[in-house]
Symmetry: C2
Subunit: 393 residues, 2 copies
């Protein structure tokens, strides 16, 4: 079912589940009109579901993230992408909450996607995989919650594309979301972001090893194209000040002067090349095409007569919107649009623009103000939800 070995169990990981088959009886009706099923969903959980199933938090990953939130990544061995925030007494307190993180539909870490086998042909889906949307991803997550016996999530959290999923949850399943934290995200993908995604897609498609999407059958991999896509995207995850602070115009190694060549002369070049070359070891090029397309399609207002507030009519969900001051991929003004729409329907919404020079990636980094914001919001929401407070030693 998956090409990789299951990860070594970590002390945090609950033995429950990892891969589940959903939709055998009732396929998933995708936005494009295709019925897809059965599908496999890869997911990880942390902590324990309480007796009345009221302590579940769904954490939605970003474009190149996965379900290994707090486990070592099975392919790279690196710590999970939010592992510092997960554990007893931590922000996502595993003594208090039951955390679920699932690989998105179209992904490449075990959930059904273009690299998995199409049962109709016995070959990898490749570009025959149906085009998916953020709504489709969330529909699959809702099926997973059904499977886990979770009627209402205590909270749905996510940054970037994960934040799009959070907003989609609030709009599509308002009664199933007690609280929500959309981070560094937007209710629609901007023209500039579509443009950057298109550059990445064209870099992949331009690689002859892409083989019209059927590279798995041909035993090739469009690694060069995927690396270029990752390099271009990676620049957008950082801020100019962060790049300047981190690298400036520093040269590689101990060089005193220029080498007058096309090797990685500047440290920033070497860093980018490394980002590109390591990414291809853990990500599938077709998944990159499908998931970026899903982001491009996302426009919550368009699905509600062009009025974003209509997406949230009557919502009782408590929402905490978070942006970062130096994020130019999902700038604060786009978070403000979400806040304005929620205010227009008298929703319970708070908003924090975290001052940071780390750009979009700040949601994955050590940002004390950001973490304090999440902690405060979760504490208050837990108190309103009647989740027992814990004595902290």
């Amino acid at each position: 079912m998956t090409a990789f070995e299951a990860p070594e169990p970590s002390p945090l990981r609950d033995p429950l589940g990892q891969f589940v088959e959903l939709g055998r009886d009732t396929p998933i009706r995708l936005d494009c009109g295709v019925d897809l099923g059965p599908i496999t969903v890869g997911f990880q959980t942390y902590g324990r579901l309480n007796a009345d199933h009221s302590n579940a938090i769904l954490i939605c990953h970003a474009l190149t993230g996965d379900q290994y939130l707090a486990d070592p990544h099975p392919l790279t061995g690196k710590p999970g992408w939010w592992s510092d925030l997960v554990g007893p007494g931590r922000l996502f307190d595993t003594d208090r909450y039951f955390l679920i993180c699932s690989n998105v539909l179209g992904g490449c870490m075990g959930t059904t996607g273009p690299k998995e086998i199409n049962p109709a042909t016995g070959k990898p889906w490749g570009k025959d995989f149906p085009v998916i949307t953020i709504g489709d991803m969330v529909q699959v997550q809702a099926r997973l919650m059904d499977h886990l016996g979770i009627g209402q999530l205590f909270c749905v959290v996510g940054g970037s594309m994960g934040g799009m999923q959070v907003l989609e949850w609030c709009a599509a399943y308002p009664e199933r979301v007690f609280s929500a934290i959309p981070i560094a995200t937007a209710a629609r993908h901007s023209a500039q972001n579509i443009a950057f995604n298109e550059v990445g897609r064209q870099a992949i498609i331009a690689d002859p090893d892409w083989k019209n999407g059927d590279y798995l059958e041909h035993g090739t991999a469009p690694d060069r194209g995927l690396a270029v896509a990752r390099m271009a995207a990676h620049i957008t995850y950082l801020s100019e000040p962060a790049l300047h602070r981190k690298f400036g115009r520093n040269l590689q190694g101990d060089r005193n002067g220029f080498s007058y060549g096309f090797g990685a002369e500047f440290q920033v070049e070497s860093y980018l090349r490394y980002q590109g070359s390591t990414f291809v070891d853990r990500f599938d090029a077709n998944s990159y095409l499908y998931i970026t397309r899903a982001m491009d399609y996302f426009d919550l207002a368009a699905e509600h007569d062009g009025q974003l507030s209509k997406a949230f009519t009557g919502t009782k969900t408590r929402v905490c919107v978070v942006s970062f001051s130096s994020d130019w991929l999902f700038p604060t003004c786009e978070s403000r649009d979400v806040v304005r729409a929620l205010n227009a329907v008298a929703a319970n919404v708070s908003f924090v623009e975290v001052q940071s020079d780390k750009g979009h990636d700040a949601f994955l980094l050590d940002e004390p103000e950001f973490h304090a914001t999440l902690t405060g919001f979760l504490e208050a929401a837990a108190s309103h939800r009647g989740l027992p407070l814990l004595g902290r030693g």
Copy 2:
């Protein structure tokens, strides 16, 4: 010498020159230490040089520009890149000034560069062409001025990489520059800009048709890589508001809904693909590598003990620095650094940040405030230089 036909003469073009051989007796000593010569320089002129040779304006082109400032482009047939500004009674008044625009060293429109023949081998230079700098480009331009009998330029003007050349002229040949207009530029290339250039270079190098730089010999062309490079760069030339205003999330053609595929679904995708596909018809991939590298190397302060003001010590040049408010490739703060350095040596400097939402490309577009700034500065400088005022009908 060049692969293309000479353009049809335009009414504006002076019959003087087009291509000249320089450095036959004294080669150009490049910053990398290589002696290069003889070299060919392609250039266009407009207007007439006056009796005391005091009315010459050198116009420096940007990364993908060329000498066809006000002529139809010989390969695309499109009007010259500043053709609206050149002519009798226009901003660059051909009744008053003698305009010169030359293709940069390393370029691909007739000036010696990687696509021209290496006399030592009889084959195209390819990646055996020496790595060049902005300083080298300006040195070649100075040789061209010697050839034309121009001791002091009345003005040196240019945007983006053209602006880097303007600053280099001010630093390297202060006595030869009466006035200067660096536009939408910086005294050093930022880490973020190096990163974007590196993405473009890697896209070209990743294309198997690049053939380790020897594609001309192999009869191939890394068009796919070059197109991706152009697409990525093109995003940086625009502003997010400009992209939003121009395209937003509009779909291609008359579509009412998504097609759920990977064709050019959004107008912004189609626009970018067009920019990529047309660029390869007029530009050489190796030139793109060499010229972006020259930009990356540019750091005027580093050449002067790390103090930018030292680059301008004792200057008598009148300088007008221009930036655009929505330019995020060469943001206003980088122009301010130049102004501050000029102020530190009590130079005659004025500074205008033009309010515009058109991004970096604003210097190529119809921006009345920008044009008024240039006109005013040139009028005052001409008056100080004692160039005769013209009666305007």
